[in-house]
Amino acid sequence: MYVVRPVEPADVGALEALLAASTPGVHTLPRTREKISALVERSSASFAAHVDIPSEETYLFVLEDLEQGEIVGTAAIHASAGSNGTYFAFRNDVIQQVSRDLNISHSVHALTLCSELTAYSQLSGFTIRDREKAGKEAALLSRGRLLYAVLAPHRFGDRFFVPLAGVTDDKGQSPFWDALGRKFFKMDFLDAERVIGGARNRTLIVELMPHYPVYVPLLPGPAQEAMGQIHPSGELAFNLLTEEGFEADEYVDIFDGGPILQAHRNALRSFCGSMVRRVATQDQPPGAPAQLDTMVNYAVASSERNFRAVVVACTPAESGTTLCLPSWTRKALQVAPGDNVICVRI
């Protein structure tokens, strides 16, 4: 049994241990205790803030294993990706080349440095322990932050995106970087990621990266193959996000060419498929054993002010006004019968 909740100051130690074991090369969450503390503070301030326009807030969520009392995962949302700068990405453009006179028509694929993701909300920092063994709780963790956005839409943009780490070899070299960024930065991929702190919204990107379209056919084969490909560590996140309704292919990362998934919130299942239901105890209506077959898994979230989310099997709630929750769930969500929750099928 797991719960997703906002991070708390007491979690810093557990986070440090969890993040130390996560995949290197993914720079979205800090690893030092000092920086983790700062992030937790920022997150707490963000949850407490009264927000009119999404800006610099970062919301960090943790996945807690209730039985072990352990933190086993993290996930975050930045309210506005470019809050202190412009968020840069490569947009996949297709340029149609047509010559009627020569009877030639073909399309040329080009990458254009763009800043249109700046006002989007950005999902990041998806980390889960024992990724290979993860079950429904991984879906809960990924979706929990979106349920928070459903409960507090004014805190976020209309559109969301998620950058996923691109392909690197065992030495940390990125074929995409070698064909592109290296020519401008004159340094190794990991060195560049370190000096820029994993950020994509720094002025030096404008100073160094190409302003003109990069014609993909001119890139060497390995760089072309790496475009839009995920690092194996990102496969779970990729699958969860595409099920959620995120779409790949339109943007890639300017450094490693990894996919940037994006969607309007109306295209996300958490937004369009979630329902508000009144909490009821599981005994009403009286449960018959046969009903177990018809139980479905829901991600259930409580409220903006005291946000908690769990995944639980319940009787289908589509046709009723109530959602029957077992007592551990009500306890984890900190809700009582009669309170409203939102739920979405997983």
Binding site: S99, L102, K183, F185, M187, E207, Y212, V214, L218
Partner: protein
Amino acid sequence: MLVIRAITLDDVDPLIEMARQVGSGMTTLKPDRDMLGERVTIAVASFAQTIPPEERDYMFVMEDTSNGRLAGVCAIKAAVGLNEPFYNYRIGTLVHSSRELNVFTRMDTLYLSNDLTGSSELCSLFLMPEYRTGSNGKWLSKSRFLFIAQFQQLFTEKIIAEMRGYQAEDGTSPFYEGLGRHFFKMDFDHVDGLTAVGKKSFIAELMPRQPLYVAYLPDDAQSVIGQVHRSTLPARKLLEQEGMHYEGYVDIFDAGPVLQGRVSELRAVRDSVPTVADEGAPEGECDITLVSNTKLEDFRMILTLACNGGAKVALSRRELQLLHCQAGDPVRTLSLNVRKNTNG
């Protein structure tokens, strides 16, 4: 003897015969009767001044008067790019610099440009193999500069010459393989052929419109930018001696250099001498010299030993006949070779 003269309509058939020997790589001389016939008609009208200056195309032939055969051909187009777009890549520089990271990167770029639109172009130079001896090639090439010096008012200030780009042993162009092929999806020969039949601008429409970083191209494509075909090196040197320079414009297909010059700075314009023909034998210190008459419609030129600096230039009776001149007629002279004491 050989004479270089304005082309006439009678030259069409021998010109087609010559074009058969040109082979690929020379896009403006293909053995196509309609194309060449039309071009000669325009050239004749150009010398007759019956068409506007910017539409003119001055074609010259080198004729062997001993047998009446054509030995070579060359031309000057008065202005390029006025009927269909004239494309080149301009090599530019973009600096990407970050003080914060202490990175300073200087990148060469290729900009698709029409910058040379309206320039006069030297083109279509071909000398029959059996006449490639002595100074014939040099003379044929340089004859155009003397023509320009005599008729400066007919040309724009800028003169250009497109040079054939580098090709590998197997005839492929590394630049084309690294760039153009991705956008045209056809072989260089095919592109070359389309260029010849006046479809170059259609092809250019398929080129990327945005500047390209040279660093994206494969190394062998990068290294041949601005390099001429091996067989074109002597031609390039000749033009450079006459005051033309490579200034960063290249062909969009094979990256061959475009040489550019200002009319007022051409050696021929600065050093050629308007003088008067005289009948006689040269005396004193003599040079191999181009001597032309000053008649546009019946332009003729010979190469001879002549003395410099006099108020008159002594020519034999036969030479005067070749020039369609008589003693006392104005002529213009230019030493074939660059004098060491003037511009080295």
